[in-house]
Symmetry: D2
Amino acid sequence: MKKLPFDSTDNYSHDAAAQRRDFVAQNADTNLQHLGSYSFDPAVLRGNIENFAGVAQVPIGFAGPLLVNGEHAQGAFYVPMATTEGTLVASYNRGMKLTRLAGGITCTVVNDAMQRAPVFVFENARYARQFGQWIDANFDRIKAIAEQTTRSGKLRDIEQHAVGKLLWLRFNFTTGDAAGQNMVTKATHSACYWMLEAGIEGLEHFAMAGNLDTDKKHSHLNTLHGRGKKVIAEVVVPKQILQDVMHVSAEALFKQRQLSNMGAFLANSSNNGSHSANGLTAMFIATGQDVANIAESAAALTYSEVTPSGDYYFSITIPSLIVATHGGGTGLPTQRECLEMMDCFGTGKVRKLAEIMAAVVLCGELSLASAIVANEWVSSHEQYGRNR
Amino acid sequence: MKKLPFDSTDNYSHDAAAQRRDFVAQNADTNLQHLGSYSFDPAVLRGNIENFAGVAQVPIGFAGPLLVNGEHAQGAFYVPMATTEGTLVASYNRGMKLTRLAGGITCTVVNDAMQRAPVFVFENARYARQFGQWIDANFDRIKAIAEQTTRSGKLRDIEQHAVGKLLWLRFNFTTGDAAGQNMVTKATHSACYWMLEAGIEGLEHFAMAGNLDTDKKHSHLNTLHGRGKKVIAEVVVPKQILQDVMHVSAEALFKQRQLSNMGAFLANSSNNGSHSANGLTAMFIATGQDVANIAESAAALTYSEVTPSGDYYFSITIPSLIVATHGGGTGLPTQRECLEMMDCFGTGKVRKLAEIMAAVVLCGELSLASAIVANEWVSSHEQYGRNR
Amino acid sequence: MKKLPFDSTDNYSHDAAAQRRDFVAQNADTNLQHLGSYSFDPAVLRGNIENFAGVAQVPIGFAGPLLVNGEHAQGAFYVPMATTEGTLVASYNRGMKLTRLAGGITCTVVNDAMQRAPVFVFENARYARQFGQWIDANFDRIKAIAEQTTRSGKLRDIEQHAVGKLLWLRFNFTTGDAAGQNMVTKATHSACYWMLEAGIEGLEHFAMAGNLDTDKKHSHLNTLHGRGKKVIAEVVVPKQILQDVMHVSAEALFKQRQLSNMGAFLANSSNNGSHSANGLTAMFIATGQDVANIAESAAALTYSEVTPSGDYYFSITIPSLIVATHGGGTGLPTQRECLEMMDCFGTGKVRKLAEIMAAVVLCGELSLASAIVANEWVSSHEQYGRNR
Amino acid sequence: MKKLPFDSTDNYSHDAAAQRRDFVAQNADTNLQHLGSYSFDPAVLRGNIENFAGVAQVPIGFAGPLLVNGEHAQGAFYVPMATTEGTLVASYNRGMKLTRLAGGITCTVVNDAMQRAPVFVFENARYARQFGQWIDANFDRIKAIAEQTTRSGKLRDIEQHAVGKLLWLRFNFTTGDAAGQNMVTKATHSACYWMLEAGIEGLEHFAMAGNLDTDKKHSHLNTLHGRGKKVIAEVVVPKQILQDVMHVSAEALFKQRQLSNMGAFLANSSNNGSHSANGLTAMFIATGQDVANIAESAAALTYSEVTPSGDYYFSITIPSLIVATHGGGTGLPTQRECLEMMDCFGTGKVRKLAEIMAAVVLCGELSLASAIVANEWVSSHEQYGRNR
């Protein structure tokens, strides 16, 4: 087995990338020309990737205009969706038309925090409880220490979770316009080592992580307590518009919802809606989010009603939407362009982006549910899809 | 609000894409030049996207060689990982070094099926049960009907799930080298309409979907019954190698695992491991998978032991890995190249790719866990990361 | 610390019980006279308890008549409910009146099996898979071995669940009129030791249990696959009767159900209904069931509809109802009387009892939901309750 | 169908009970003599049951002494266990011997609250959020109103859970020595109606309950936030004692725990331990608890370690132990005696009882796990059991 050339992570250049491609192409007797087609100086990638060799070109379709009545996002937006799944853009686009005609989607951010949850192992549960009481009593000092490591991170509160001799502290930070996972790790680390150095009575062991954040995977804890933004998108679609655009009634959608609610409960699913992951993933890829957070962000709670006048109230609540408009991949060339086309790049924009994403998700929910109810689901994939 | 030009989904050309970009750029007073930098004829995208306007350029780093002792994947592989998260490629690469020195990763596919789960609503539970008995008795005929719609899809079995007057049928198909969601939808649709046309006693209502597949979201049902491939990756790392490469002992990793197991159980998480979503997402984007399936594929089960000689047995079981080497986005230019560099493009390759992905995930688990245990986690993000 | 006298478990006599009471009473300076008031010869308790010292006198109230349209239970039943919670009997009784006027409750048993799930640990996942294939190929022989240990237990099938190098086999038995936990343990033990003696390639370790049964605790696996009987109870209550008896409309109950469904999903609850544990526990105590199985049997799935004519379809599905009419405590004096008053004692009666229990649960669901909706909940507890 | 005589719930007399028994006995052509054997005046049952007809005589065995090093329970206790399952008392008794020799069980109460969770439905999510902010700002007034209805209930805090236009408020009360379900219902009702009368902007609908308490069923919310007492029991068993009493090593128990942890995670179980429901149910019946709360109280978290010297640290955490020493059935004749034999009757005793119960559970866990590991499980049921 040969080692990759230029394994150094400090080597961000066209040449280094080409040499990596050549090496692998030769090794596999194949051709990697498209990978090498990118439009920027690899130097911009420092901090985003190691062993850079080229780019995935993921096709982007535009959908919209999406009409949002948010507190941060207000007005009409064209939305970039990066996907290779036929029908997806068309389906979301259809939902945007519907909700546009209905007067737009109301979005509300109701929670906002990023977590790191170290675990402390004591001699017994009493020491753990005593430490927990100390934490409560000394929150202000801990907060001050933690916040020294970051400009934008603010420690909101510390949850405590006790099991036997173990005590998890779940630090909740607001993180400005960054998703903030690294920021909160560093701040939590700093606070914990300050405590560790001061000495903790009865402590046997400490670990910076113990799966209670929870990071890069769904957990019911995240659904209940949130991770990232908790955003709610709502709409009331008049029955006539529903009929005209979707060829369904509110009653029929509501009946389908009953089946989907029951199925999700029976399956013990993270989401009683349909496919929020589709819209979110397409936007995450386009806008430079950490796409692996789809694992958490795909959880959702759907609640709907038929109004007395026969219209359809529909809502989607995303409890753990992890999103940034600053840091991570948001500043890379195509990613930044995608944020800018929604005026969502940089500081002060993250809740706006969260609102737009929630609105997009809602559009996809209504579109797919309608297609199932109207029995247009299979035929639309026949029309747009590839997997035949 | 202005409508997007060329909303027709049949318009796959450089011009059409440019006009969409220009329209949106003008509308938002911004610039979308990088989006327009792609290296292929948009005509290849028919069936993959609508309203095509450009591409996301997602940086790819190469990791490897990864040594796999699979039944389908055998030998050393260089792995393309598309991500914007600093440290990720370096961390997986470190795990690949470790497992290479340990003699490679054993991979085993133990389950393989794709689902569609229509729901039948009856007058009462007795009619539902009677229909279920009819399904069991007529499986061969149903199978024949379903398989008429597809060359590669084979109906394996039909699960039944009853709640009150509702009966879900969960059709399990093998789908060759495609992920198969559309294939199984079409086949299930065909089988159901054959039954519906023949008449089903006591039936009140039918819906093609009711959240029991479950598609584009985590469910415990998927963890138990699988969706896509269920793959297990295992390794035994000798203690000396663990110490040399990772600066940790098997005992220390195992102790950390106890905390992570407890935390995952307490959080009611879909995954008691660390971050399988990171490696899978990076490979999904690179190889043209349906990235939204990370919602399901991120679930995992980790089991480890310290062997009598102090080495570390570590395994990761991915119950719902949804992956394809044919169809969907796998044939697009950069995506195909990424598959080809692992000799995983086209027919007969899907289990090979599944094995490689599981092996990649395992590498990331060992690397991150070691970093946490060795307290190198924060410092490595300092070195490679951006989110400061 | 003094040891209890007559620790021998073979000592079932009035004298031995009295001596135990006297010893403890003296030790605690208290009086245990009521404990000693029982109406049978302690010799009947052999096999039911050790260190017998007396009885708990749990008050029983009668409710009914309950009108059941089951396949096994047909007609009107008076139901014994053992409880100390004021309002409980009255509330269930009210539900029985309602459903009686509505024409009775339809009950259907749709699944029936008791489990034991040993776990086999192999050198690696491949050996585990190979063993699984052997199990499938040799099911008939395994079945024959297992059934040698029992008259009434029949091995229905063996589920396989693989994680890393572990393979759980979940044996599903029908168990006649007994709950069957011990019966299936013995049969499974016998089958496993036959395999172990024959030699299993690559096996490292074996354990008779590993929490996949799952016994004496809720699990989602039990909800999906069942444990004991899966029973569905259904009713359609005409709107006028609902109004007359409960002072609510179908629409109001259905609206409340929407909130309860959402709440149960959000809480990740084992039951989207209200309080099935109340009715089941009261009947379990009265009829000599293993009351600890409430942990499993309390899971339930509620589905309801408003019919086109404004009546209320309501159903409760109990996936893991563990119940017996033979063995365990069913033959003890008061317990047997309680079974006999429903003609449910002895062989051939267990599905009848399961149907009655499901019907009772349904009555309690409708009664409590109606009380909440009609805002009569607090006042009824004021009237009947004690906890002020 | 004939109506039961004396349906009035105010009729608590020997005669009324006898008439009910006679009526049912005649109706079913059976005999209910044992039911009528009870040793108290039925008048004591007012507030505990309606339509009283007799008692279930549930056999009680004594186990112990149990050595507890609690903060409230200190010393040796003889424990009453009401059950009809052979082996149960003997098994717990064995665990008590083991832990007695090990120096006793340390118990710690770490959380204490009882819940009621009304749900408020608004026009949209913004009104819901605004109401939530009002709740936070007016907590002291709400607390004052709620506490007017009760002497011992104190409002600790109010959780908020938002989904779409719905907002659940989860009121957490401490409830003195009562379990407190009715007390908190009344207090919450009072607080809510005070708010409702004052007027809540944008409110469409209100319901006193919506499955987020969660009452009489397991929920992961209860595991995370607690319901009733959260109690931790811990012990370190020296290896020699483990070997002498249980014929197992700490290493073997720990290995079995790995399998049980994995199985519980795979099954998505409410409890990674073995059978806490057994010990709790037996004590609940004996001591007049609301036995239906086993649905919630059976949840548990087990964490164990092998110490450097080869001893076994074992802990069980019960997050939702619902228990009382006052109110409900605690004052009935046999029930009170059972509390008194542990000096746990009346005010100021509830945490003591909670500690004893947790210690009992721990004993049963060690005993059953040891039996499985030592392969004595089947044979012990052969010796003591009945279900053959």
